[in-house]
């Protein structure tokens, strides 16, 4: 009898942990932070967290597509920089229409992502290698394009993208929200989305099922590249300059958000929702540790530990018995 009870309890416990563990952990962290530092839950601070999260969040959403196919994209930070300097260079007051400026940033991201995709899907390079190469190349391109100097003197219109508010909420938050909604929809409800999971789950069986796996793989790197371009636009317009060294090591936070969100590095499993929570978690931790005056050196140790802990928990919850 007790065995049965224990069994039922165990099962539901485990299921609870699996389905809501991440959200519970997130709420737990928020609770602790608001007790330790009352200013944490002030609306202004929360909005601030959201805005700070939006850039990493946009990158993490693109990274989610890539990681679900079993790949990785290390070049997102560098592509962010390329898009930042390219878009900024067209964004001087009165030169080009804002639409053109935005498309230039998105386009260059898309193009670099496409090149990643070609090397990975067609030339069969390991994603780690191909995007590691792109990471260095793109950073170099950003530096060459600007001769190493930030691009400044940007139009007000452009600066509004990263710095403006609509109804008291920062514009980047709207952009991020839109990216999340569209990506969630694409991954969850479209044929393409389902194929992304199929390719990541078992590439060979996907191929036998009539899926052009190399097209799917190319597309996910294009998505990641384009979203990196978007992140570059938002970032440069927020700081009002296109800096060629922008976005350095952003790929790490993006990967961390995806992994904390429960997406499996071996592919086939993952959700946009998880990634959103993962990105928020990182944002909240950064913000909270700042509020608590923890030194930035020490912050890194805390952040790293939390990533490992989160993944460990997830593994526990998903383990078979």
């Amino acid at each position: 009898m007790t065995a049965i009870l224990k069994n039922i309890f165990n099962i539901s416990n485990k299921k609870l942990l699996k389905d809501y563990g991440l959200v519970l952990a997130f709420m737990g962290i928020c609770l602790v932070l608001s007790i330790l530092s009352p200013s944490f839950i002030k609306p202004a601070n929360l909005l601030n967290i959201l805005r700070q999260t939006s850039i990493n969040g946009i990158l993490a959403v693109g990274m989610t597509f890539v990681i679900i196919t079993g790949g990785i994209d290390l070049s997102v930070g560098s592509i962010t920089a390329v898009a930042a300097v390219v878009a900024s260079s067209f964004a001087h007051p009165g030169e080009h229409s804002i639409v053109f400026v935005i498309f230039s940033g998105l386009g260059v991201g898309l193009l670099l992502g496409f090149i990643n995709g070609l090397f990975i899907a067609k030339a069969k390079l390991a994603p780690f290698i191909a995007t590691l190469g792109m990471m260095t190349i793109a950073r170099g391109m950003a530096l060459v394009y600007t001769s190493g100097r930030p691009v400044i003197n940007l139009s007000d219109q452009y600066n509004y993208i990263g710095g403006g508010y609509i109804g008291g909420i920062p514009v980047p938050v709207y952009i991020y929200g839109l990216v999340v909604i569209i990506s969630f929809f694409v991954l969850r409800f479209t044929v393409f989305g389902r194929r992304v999971y199929a390719v990541g789950g078992n590439e060979l069986s996907a191929k036998y099922s009539g899926i052009k796996t190399s097209n799917i793989k190319t597309l996910v790197y294009m998505i990641s590249g384009m979203l990196s371009g978007l992140a570059g636009i938002v970032l440069s317009s927020r700081v009002m300059s296109g800096n060629p060294s922008a976005g350095t090591s952003y790929e790490l936070d993006a990967i961390a958000a995806v992994v904390i969100g429960g997406t499996s590095m071996t592919g086939g499993v993952g959700t946009i929702f998880g990634t959103v929570i993962g990105a928020l978690m990182i944002g909240v931790i950064n913000n909270g540790l700042d509020l608590l005056n923890v030194s930035s050196y020490f912050q890194q140790i805390v952040k790293g530990s939390i990533i490992i802990f989160a993944v460990l928990m997830d593994k526990q919850a998903n383990s078979k018995d």
């Binding site: 065995a3 069994n7 099962i11 299921k15 409800f189 479209t190 044929v191 393409f192 389902r194 194929r195 999971y197 199929a198 990541g200 789950g201 078992n202 060979l204 069986s205 996907a206 191929k207 036998y208 099922s209 009539g210 899926i211 052009k212 499996s264 592919g267 086939g268 499993v269 078979k320 018995d321």
Partner: protein
């Protein structure tokens, strides 16, 4: 006490549940030395689960196990192994990048001078000696991943035997091997029991079971139904115990009107695999392809299906020449290929039953913005789950937690849903129970009645002879025989299948 009926293991009132499934409910069985004890039951009856409890992979929820009169509980496979229990699993898990010998001795490699350095020579020698002793012809130095499924299976069996365990468990060892290898295996099993040991055997193949078993236990829905000496039960009785009702004809071939040629293959070649293959398949016809393992049958159909397009030759569908460069092309032309290895090429084990079944059909379920029509998807998947009686807690269950046979049914469902005109099945009834097998055969018949074409590869002689209208025989990548149904003769077909081998040895 009589030596040949000495009980070695008693399993008593074993229970085991998974979320949503009671896999074993008070199962009690006694196993004896010098005995081949076969477990039978429908897909999902709990056979593999029971054996996984015995070999320390799963922990039972309640019950007792007595090994040589002593209560035992195995927390890990290693501890079961230490107590003399070795198991060959239904789903193979070879380390593909290691050599055959390395796979066999993983974790217990012979070393050089007591240093942590593997003595490769010694290891290969040992493997070779064992292979020779039991009659397997595989080079221990070959890379595991280069072996055929059948060869891998034989290596796994050899590995289990090398532990010299008191109890050897074989979970569907013959689902991937051909008749020739089956007879080697049976010799191995016989020798094994002669050494005062026990073998527990799981299979769905009736002829085999009566050949090898001393005792047969039937499970149904996780319940123990009965144990009988093999000599005391008939096939009919066993089926009744398994499915709970009478099941009549096993290969219910229906007469259909054979129509025009739907698929014509001319001089197809792919170097190293097959050469100069020409044949045609007609509407309303089941065309069988027989041959030994490694004869190139799978390679041939995979090539036709666009997985590895042929180097030369031509394909015609309904009289029109077609170029098939990828499976996508083949699917668009109304073809379906149910592949041989469900784990490797058939399923996405990380996804649900529903998503696996619908993946091919998805394209046709797309509405605006390529959004999947969820309602239609769910209803068509549910229909197939019912039609093939796939045993799963729900359509959203992960396929990896289904029993082997039910996973196979998911693969079949996926291709049926794509509604093909030319259905190619490569060992389609591998590992599925008698009821489901009859169901698959019925489906094949329905297919041909609708004027569609079926091409079937099977290594099971009774199946392929029972179901086919015409039969091609392949040997070493060449067509060596062609039989009309009226000319079917097992001896002659086998002779063609071994054609090449005989010529070489003469």
């Amino acid at each position: 006490m009589e030596n040949n009926s000495e009980t070695i293991l008693e399993m008593d009132n074993i229970c085991k549940s998974f979320p949503g499934v009671k896999a074993l409910n008070n199962v009690s069985i006694k196993f004896k030395k010098r005995t081949v004890h076969t477990l039978m039951g429908e897909n999902g009856a709990g056979k593999s689960t029971l054996m996984k409890v015995l070999s320390g992979i799963y922990q039972m929820d309640s019950g007792t196990m007595r090994l040589r009169g002593e209560d035992v509980i195995f927390q890990t496979p290693a501890s079961a192994l230490n107590h003399g229990i070795a198991m060959v699993h239904q789903e193979l898990s070879p380390i593909v990048d290691l050599s055959v010998a390395e796979n066999m001795f993983v974790g217990r490699e012979p070393v050089l001078f007591k240093l942590p350095v593997i003595n490769r020579k010694e290891m290969n020698k040992k493997a070779n000696a064992l292979f020779e002793e039991i009659g397997i012809k595989i080079d221990p130095k070959r890379r595991m991943g280069d072996l055929s499924v059948a060869e891998m299976q034989m290596v796994e069996i050899a590995k289990a035997i090398s532990y010299d365990a008191e109890i050897l468990i074989l979970d569907e060892p013959t689902s991937a091997i051909s008749d020739a290898e089956v007879s080697v295996l049976f010799k191995i099993i016989r020798n094994y029991t002669q050494k005062n040991k026990a073998v527990i055997y799981i299979s769905h193949k009736m002829e085999e079971i009566f050949q090898i078993s001393d005792e047969i236990t039937v499970l149904r829905d996780g319940e123990f139904i009965g144990t009988n000496p093999a000599s005391d039960v008939s096939e009919k009785e066993l089926i009744k115990m398994m499915v709970g009702r009478n099941l009549n004809e096993i290969f219910p071939k229906t007469e259909t009107k054979i129509g025009d040629v739907s698929l014509r293959v001319e001089n197809l070649s792919l170097s190293g695999k097959f050469s100069n293959i020409s044949f045609e398949a007609r509407r309303g016809e089941i065309l069988g392809i027989a041959g030994l393992m490694g004869a190139g049958r799978s390679e041939l159909v995979e090539s036709i299906f666009g997985v590895h397009p042929p180097e030369s030759g031509s394909l015609y569908i309904n009289g029109k020449e077609v170029k098939i460069r990828s499976p996508e092309d083949a699917i668009d032309l109304g073809m379906a290929l149910i592949t041989e290895d469900r784990k490797l090429t058939g399923l996405n084990l990380k996804d649900s039953v529903k998503n696996n079944v619908s993946i091919v059909f998805l394209k046709k379920l797309a509405r605006a913005f390529s959004v999947v029509d969820k309602g239609r998807e769910v209803s068509s998947v549910e229909e197939l789950i019912k039609k093939l009686s796939i045993k799963t807690p729900s359509r959203n269950t992960n396929v990896s937690s289904l029993s082997g046979g039910n996973q196979q049914k998911v693969v079949i469902a996926k291709w049926l849903l794509s509604d093909p005109n030319i259905l190619i099945l490569d060992e389609p009834t591998r590992g599925i129970d008698v009821g489901a097998k009859a169901e698959v055969h019925k489906l094949m018949n329905q297919f041909t009645e609708e004027g569609k074409t079926v091409i079937m590869i099977s290594s099971e002689m009774p199946e392929i002879m029972g179901m086919s209208d015409r039969l091609l025989v392949l040997s070493e990548g060449k067509l060596t025989g062609h039989f009309q149904r009226s000319e079917f003769d097992q001896e002659k077909i086998l002779a063609c299948a071994m054609n090449h081998i005989e010529k070489e040895s003469n």
